[in-house]
């Protein structure tokens, strides 16, 4: 069982928000996108995507509705709420600051 650690969980949320910012998606498509972007970095099972989605939905950062797909099946589509958009902006900013700071430190030790 690979339960994502807190750090990964945090980044997972950020990635989900980022993906949904482009367009509404259903679960499987999100997992495909995740795999594409970061297949080798984020070692998470597909299933752990769903608790994260449901949590984000509870927190009103994303909302979900059932729609019919192109191959005529009903799927649950997730999309970003206004709160989610704000959260994404905030989170990515702080992520950039943090990652910037960390890479600076990493570079320092290398010298």
């Amino acid at each position: 069982m690979s339960k994502p650690s807190d750090l990964v969980q945090g980044t997972l949320n950020l990635l989900i928000l980022k993906i949904l910012a482009l367009e509404p998606q259903h679960g499987w498509a999100i997992s495909q996108r995740l795999r594409q972007i970061s297949s080798e970095v984020l070692q998470v099972s597909d299933g752990s995507l769903y608790p994260a989605l449901h949590k984000l939905e509870q927190e009103s950062l994303i909302k979900a509705d059932w729609q019919t797909t192109e191959n005529n099946r009903r799927a649950k589509f997730y999309s970003l709420t206004p709160t989610g958009k704000r959260a994404l902006a905030r989170e990515s900013q702080s992520w950039e600051r943090l990652s910037g700071a960390i890479s600076q430190i990493v570079r320092l030790t290398e010298i």
Binding site: M1, H26, W28, S31, S45, D46, G47, Y50, P51, R74
Partner: protein
Amino acid sequence: MFQKLSLRLRSLFRSPAVDRELDQELDNEIRYHLDMQTQDFVRRGIPEKQAAILARRQFGNATLHKEECRDARHLAWLENLVQDFRHGVRTLRRDPGFTIVSVLTLALGIGATSALFSVLDAALLHPLSVHESARLVWLQEFSPGHNESGSNPARLADWQTARSFSAAAGFYSEGLIWLSPHGPLQLQLLRTVGDMNAVLQAKIQLGRSFTAAEIRGEGQPVTLLTHSAFSRRFQSNPAILNQILRLDRTAYQVVGVLSSDLDYPEDIDLWSPSPREIQQTSRAAGFLGIVARLAPGVMLSQAQAELDVLSARLANQFPATDRDRSAALTPLTTHVSEGVRKPLLLLFAAVAGVLLVGCLNIAGLLLARGLARRREAAIRVSVGAGHARLVRLFFAESLSLAAAGCLLGLLLAVAGVAFLKAVLPSEVPHLAAISLNLRVVLCGIGLSLLAAIVFGALPAWQFAAGAQNPALKRTRQSRLRSSLVISEVAGSVVLLVVAALLAASFLKLRSQPAGFNSANAYTFALELPWDTDAGILDSAAQDTLSRLNAFPGVISAGVVDRLPLHGGSQSNVFVVRGMTLPSSIAQQEFGLRTASPGFFAAAGIPLTAGSLYRDWQGSQGPREALISQHLATILFPNEDPVGREIAPAGKKEPHWFRIVGVVGSVASHPTDSEPAAEIYIPWGATYWPLLNFVVRTTRPLADVSRFVHEQIQQNNTSQIYSPVATLSERIAETRSTPRTAALLVSGFALVALALAALGIFGLMAHETARRTQEIGVRLALGAEPESIAFDAVWRAVKLVAVGLVLGLAAAWYASVLLQSLLFEVAPHDAYSYAAAAAVLLLAAVIASLVPALRAARINPIQALRHE
């Protein structure tokens, strides 16, 4: 944030059907994911069967993820908590005896505490709703010999020069008659000297405040209505502004209405500046109360230091009137509740004691219950309940108990407040306005929470301790229960001792020789304004007395300035013609009362030597006086006082009064055992507009009432007579504080005693049950049932004895605080302690008797098969 919480809370109360539907959706969503993934693999050339397996593998543990999704949906901990509470309520319902006793005990404690706290809150914590009331001070003057005395306008003017005050003003009150459209009404008028508004900084709701000239008493008389009079007497009609209000013989122009948030001084209908001639009274007078506002940044001690310097300067400047006089400042908030502070705090301590004993009792019951539930706890642990969950379960139970107790307690508090309002003496500030406010409710809830935490911790701790050595546990818990009972006993003993002391004090107070006979005596009063002509006063007294004397069945009727025990009207230092008094007596103040000759027979005060004085005639009269027996022994220990001449000291030309007789001494003060040393002079010899009529008759109260109403009041509509009361009633008023305190504390002590007895009963019943087998063996071996019963009672008595000793020791220390509330009873009065101990021992024996008799009746055969 709020939205999030509400969403989750909503999920908490979602019906199971909705929940099932959501689970179904989740399944659909996951199935869709797996299908899509499988299709994806198939598209990449993997056989369908394998693709499905691969997709599932890639998905991970589906059940776990679903569970996590559900957790995300629900606020798991809150859900568990609700479940715990449901469980708690269910277990409590299964044991109604325990639940009812605990909830009632808790409700009683919390109800009584909250009710008293609401009184405390109104009377002591928030006694004044005046702007920055903490800056207000009460200025009390003291005459030589440190007797409290009133001030006068001349001295007020001196106090106003103090730099420590931003403002100072004086006041006194008068009852005035207003011929309202609905008949004559008595209004309470506050006479102000100086700018009262500058001191209290009261807002004006309507109209204006007094002008500087009006404050000096110049020009047409003006008045400000208080908010309560404005709404009650004038139906809040603003048309009253600038109208003329005729009070007695004077016309006042209404210039304004004070705002509703002013509540000092209490029970006043209107304000009016004191007339000019009264503002010019001499420095010898004493009728003003003084309040002042401290200047910004000035501390009370600094202001007091300035007053001391000022007093010394005034003593030099005006030696005739100001020598040896002093003044002391107290915060006004303290001053208004001074008389009731100690009794109220005492009552609160007593009621808190009851709550404590009640809590100890519930704790004992919970412990006993915990023992019985050992097996339940063990099963819960074995099927996987964590310790934390089990502890939470106990807390949920105690919280449910506390919630029920709190709710019922607050309901009881509502009744309690109504009860307290009825029984507490009217000196309690804001008595009428006392109610259960938010602060009181929060206090009640806080107390319940505290109780819940303590009760919950106990079984939890018991459980944790029990996880170790079970044998050790049993003795330890039995010891714990015993110590709870000991504390209960100790707590109730303290309360019983205090109750016994207060009761003894009250009985002493009531049985102190009054010096007068209140049986068959009735009284009513007529209060006239301070500027009433002496002639009018005189005719009011004469007219009323002659009508009373003409009433069939009247034995005697008289008028006096103040009723016995209601304090003297005036007091003074006296000189005796041709006699040099020892300096200790020469400086002592004695009471001066004015009374008509008929008063003595009406009040049943005996004449012990000489004869009564004659009636005062008009503006002149025979300058004759009577002295009380006690004064006779002080002034004339070895000679006959009759024929001696006596006069108030301090005048250049003494007004001599010849002593014509000696009358019995009456009790002087409700809490003073010394009889009054007093001089009586004829009614009319000094000016005093408060007439207290006393009438002795064989007729019942209703007859006297009707007579006063129909024959006296109807013929005199410009004056209002107070309702007729028995003299005993009016005398009892002076003792209402000690009586109420004694009654309430005794009530609380009895509740605590009952709780302690319940605790003893519970413990002994449990002991008997535990020892059934042992007792069976003893009986089988030939022990007498009586000795078994005696043994059980003896065990209880031994336990109680420990609590008794602790309680008596605590009472020994605590009762010293009571000293000032006790009359002629020492705080270490042996009888009170013995009585408390005896009552408690008796209760203990009775409480342990039932289990003891049960023990004696145990059937040995059955007992041996027990367990």
